[in-house]
Symmetry: C2
Subunit: 309 residues, 2 copies
Amino acid sequence: MAEAKDRVLITGATGYLGRRLVKASLALGHPTFLLFRPDTASDLARCQMLMELKMEGAQLLQGSLDDRDSLISALKQVDVVVSTIAGDQILQQLKLVEAIKEAGTIKRYLPSEFGMDVDRMHHAMPPGDKVFSEKRIVRRAIEEASIPHTYISANCFAGIFLAGLAQLAIFMPPRDHVNVYGGGDKRCIWVAEEDVAMYAMLSVDDPRTLNKVVYLRPPDNILSQMEVIEIWERVIGRKLSKTFISEDEWLSQMDKMPPFEQSAMAHFCHIFYRGELDFEVEGPHGVDGSELYPHYKYVTAQEYLKRFV
Amino acid sequence: MAEAKDRVLITGATGYLGRRLVKASLALGHPTFLLFRPDTASDLARCQMLMELKMEGAQLLQGSLDDRDSLISALKQVDVVVSTIAGDQILQQLKLVEAIKEAGTIKRYLPSEFGMDVDRMHHAMPPGDKVFSEKRIVRRAIEEASIPHTYISANCFAGIFLAGLAQLAIFMPPRDHVNVYGGGDKRCIWVAEEDVAMYAMLSVDDPRTLNKVVYLRPPDNILSQMEVIEIWERVIGRKLSKTFISEDEWLSQMDKMPPFEQSAMAHFCHIFYRGELDFEVEGPHGVDGSELYPHYKYVTAQEYLKRFV
């Protein structure tokens, strides 16, 4: 008899990554549970997303991070918890960590990470450092409570970075002109959101990822911005005009931007000017997701960009 | 050889009904085109929805109602146009009507209707009357330009009305308590959004719907609010407590609400207190969609509510 698959609870299931995690969890055969708050009933888009996921096989559990009893009751029905809470609510997860500790039965917790490895980013520039330091607070709480965990480090979401050739707040590839950061030569890693979700779900019951940071590094997608632009130029058969922006220019524009864009621009600086995604994965705590799951067919940067033709 | 299916252009394709129309159009085998504005590139959710629809088979055409040349160029590539522009932008369609007239090749235009038959609602109460009168202006412009057309009258969207048992701004069925309008005995018609989309797309190349109002009236879904509540009570095996609200009470609460809710409350009054969806379809301009397509298996109210268990 096949071993029963771990039951998975996903919080933030109607969100950007959450709904993709639900689909990946269901595709892998996990009994998949979604936590939804009673006040969701007044949010049409969320209700319809929840119902769509339910019709695909997910089960709904009413509960909220602010209602400890409902949370404990939900936790008792599952083996694994995956959180995708939004970047401005990271510390809300401390309530979940407390509840997981109290329940005492959770075999693996994946907190809301899915970005840069925050323990490598102690030096990050403000205001982009806030989300990193909050994620570190959650990590330390998880470790102090001895909760079995996996941290997924996924850079960069293709829909947000690759789709727009890394233009700030542009999510379709431009056909005429593109801004290039520095020489556009720093290597970064571009991962389709559906692949982030699938790698994350592949890791939840894998002993090799227990208490590890899993870096998602699909080999064909470790590319500089210029390499990505060249792929797109080949795909559409024409060259784009380019403006090369220096780091000083980039940083001098930050002050004029609203807070959310300021954070994004700070992250862009670490990624595209300072090349801080270009490092070797080292043990004992780091593992390379692409090496763990070599047979998983991820979306290459070229395949992703071809979708836009 | 099979006759080529009409090519369909859908405007507002990333919207609530728009994306369902795209799926219905593709399911019926129509070459399906979506109009998207250049500024969509800065809207992450819309970009991803467009790409999802593109990956399902739709083709993207860049253009905008404000750019006549792009609009004419798009119109020259299709046979049928379906608009689902939002309720607060109805008159924007006059630009589309002008362009369709100029192009001169469109075989059928379905303007953004999908609600009450506005030519039956000359007496509608403010502020809910505004959208009706604007839809009438668009109808008259279409007729004056002799554009072949079909008006789809669909009441009431299941996700908005049935899902919450017709509670205002509640989109999941309550399990304890429900407000009932009057005696809850006025019959209305509850139609799943995917069925609205499919009936609409079935009508676009049907000579029987040319220059007609198509009323969507799935026979099993012509039910009063109380009948709907009873279905839900049977489904969950328990009775809900009920507050019966008189028409005067309902109308007296309108003033306190924001404008959008005021319009919704006005529409609720026509539907649930005055029973204005309960009429016989009469020729020569009215046709019953369920009679035209009797073999199409629509979602019954009971099936719809069972999804929430």
